[in-house]
Symmetry: C2
Subunit: 326 residues, 2 copies
């Protein structure tokens, strides 16, 4: 975290999701001083979207004392490129699905030219953990976001890993099954995400139900509508099959982390996102599998942690943290 100007105590965070765009004005301790939101959809042109954002933002900027108290803005967005502040070919954003949009520049121009940084949501989560969360003081750690997909933010030597193009840290797309792997949303087969995202857990549920006749609470549900939350609820009621699904998921995540340790030897793996609500159900199999698979030299060196950011505001806090970095 850079030294913060004492005269500018706040940063703006924008968690730009497919449905909602949530803003927060945040101080250096991670306290959200004011917050607002607009719908992300419904704007054909990016200029219209930014106009609507600025209208909403202006209210909370005034609330905290005006733009002169704002040091910078950070944006966490799908397909966000840190190096040039653009959103590139984001399938779920009508104004960016077939082009490169200079979103950071557009916001900066409307906000007194304050610096605006932009990256994807998993990278924002990593900076958020380093700034306000469980990774404070850490120089080498990996955040894995377990949501609809599996994302990652990697910090090495105290810096986020962006790679040569700004898109490094796609750990959801390392190949875990080289033969007969599940088709992944990226078009390739056997990716970690195809198994260990919320969607992947739901697919595992269908597979597990099909390949055995073991009784399970999950059999009462329409297999095509089972979610990872259903599996988590069933497991928490002691359902053996549901537990096996989480064991399978955690085992694969542990194996993947063992490979990531060979790369970066981090001091912690930090899990973020909806699926972490399953708690020990997912964390215990991860740790067990990691211990079984990691190289002896790395054994016992990495902590396994759940995000320290408050769930409902974690994404906006993460985005805001980018503001302290630029």
């Amino acid at each position: 975290m850079n030294t913060q100007s004492t005269t500018k105590p706040y940063v703006i965070g924008l968690d730009l999701g497919g449905t909602n765009s949530v803003f927060g004005i945040v101080d250096a301790r991670g306290e959200i001083k004011a917050t607002t939101a607009i719908k992300t959809q419904g704007y054909a042109k990016v200029e219209d979207y930014v106009d609507a954002c600025i209208d909403a933002l202006q209210v909370i900027i005034d609330e905290v004392g005006g733009i002169d108290l704002i040091k910078a803005m950070g944006i966490g967005a799908p397909n966000g490129n840190y190096y040039n502040g653009t959103i590139e070919y984001a399938p779920n954003l009508p104004w960016a699905h077939d082009c490169v949009v200079p979103l950071a520049k557009l916001f900066s121009e409307r906000l007194n030219n304050i610096p605006v940084g932009l990256t994807n949501d998993a990278n924002a989560a990593a900076v958020g953990e380093m700034t306000y969360g469980v990774a404070r003081g850490m120089k080498n750690f990996i955040v894995l976001t377990l949501g609809t997909g599996v994302g990652s933010g990697i910090v090495i030597n105290g810096q986020l890993v962006y790679g040569c193009d700004g898109f490094a840290g796609e750990l959801g797309h390392v190949t875990m099954c080289r033969e007969n792997g599940r088709l992944c949303g990226c078009g390739r087969k056997g990716c970690l995400e195809a198994y260990c995202s919320a969607t992947g857990v739901a697919r595992s549920a269908v597979e597990f139900l099909e390949k055995s006749t073991e009784p399970s609470l999950l059999r009462e549900l329409d297999p095509q509508k089972i979610t990872s939350l259903d599996v988590s609820i069933a497991a928490s009621k002691g359902d053996a099959l549901a537990k096996k699904i989480y064991d399978f998921t955690g085992k694969m995540l542990g194996e993947a982390c063992a490979d990531f340790a060979a790369f970066a030897s981090p001091e912690a793996f930090i899990f973020f996102g909806g699926m972490t609500k399953a708690g020990d159900l997912i964390m215990e199999p991860i740790k067990k599998s990691y211990d079984e698979h990691v190289m002896p030299i790395f054994k016992g060196k990495a902590q396994f942690l759940v995000s320290g950011l408050d769930g409902s505001s974690a994404a906006v806090l993460g985005a805001s943290a980018i503001g302290w970095e630029i």
Copy 2:
């Protein structure tokens, strides 16, 4: 590379191998001004080894004009820990096989307290490529050393990746075969090194010869004595089976690099070590497999290069480059 003092134009490099310890005094352009060597074995105590090193070194130090012209020393050594300058539990070094030896400190004390940095040979190779070789000017790249084992040195944001303990970058030990994988020297199964090191290629040769009756020049050799060089020679004579062995090896390296791209999105993969002498025989299948397996977003972004350091002095140049970094 740090700014170099104009009054101290040289660094010392020590390539500490299991058999030989090779010294070079090197200038900022990577020109070796003087060189010498001693046998590594034959010393029960590390102090005796350092004594013998200093005796040999003193001659070449005098040759280039004395210790006052030497900025620092870099050591590339098995099980070298950069953070504390130690060699830790190195199986092939009698004076370090069951203990932690503060080798950097011992050398510094005998060399007018010049800074001495120490790391493993693959990391030294990476710094060597960045300082004098094909990675000059690059900020994000991965060196893979293909020798008796598979080692790696990873540079991200212009810095070597050491991780939380100094031992990051063990890419020879990511798991490529999760079922029925070959036993690796590290005690685990299915590691990249078990397939793509020189030893791994020799093992592949035995497997390929056993599982078919295809004629091959390799059948004239004692299967237990086949080396990767034999396979390379046979392939260069047009031997189809030998070519298949290199195709198999390159395919796996390409798949591994595709996973490494998802982690670090490097601008180059640089191959170093004896096996790179096979040239296109190994490089072409690597590139083909990488293109087939890498995420679309990373396609075409990374170069595939062979080390730019002169083979016979590459290791000592790499070690010396550590001297400019500290």
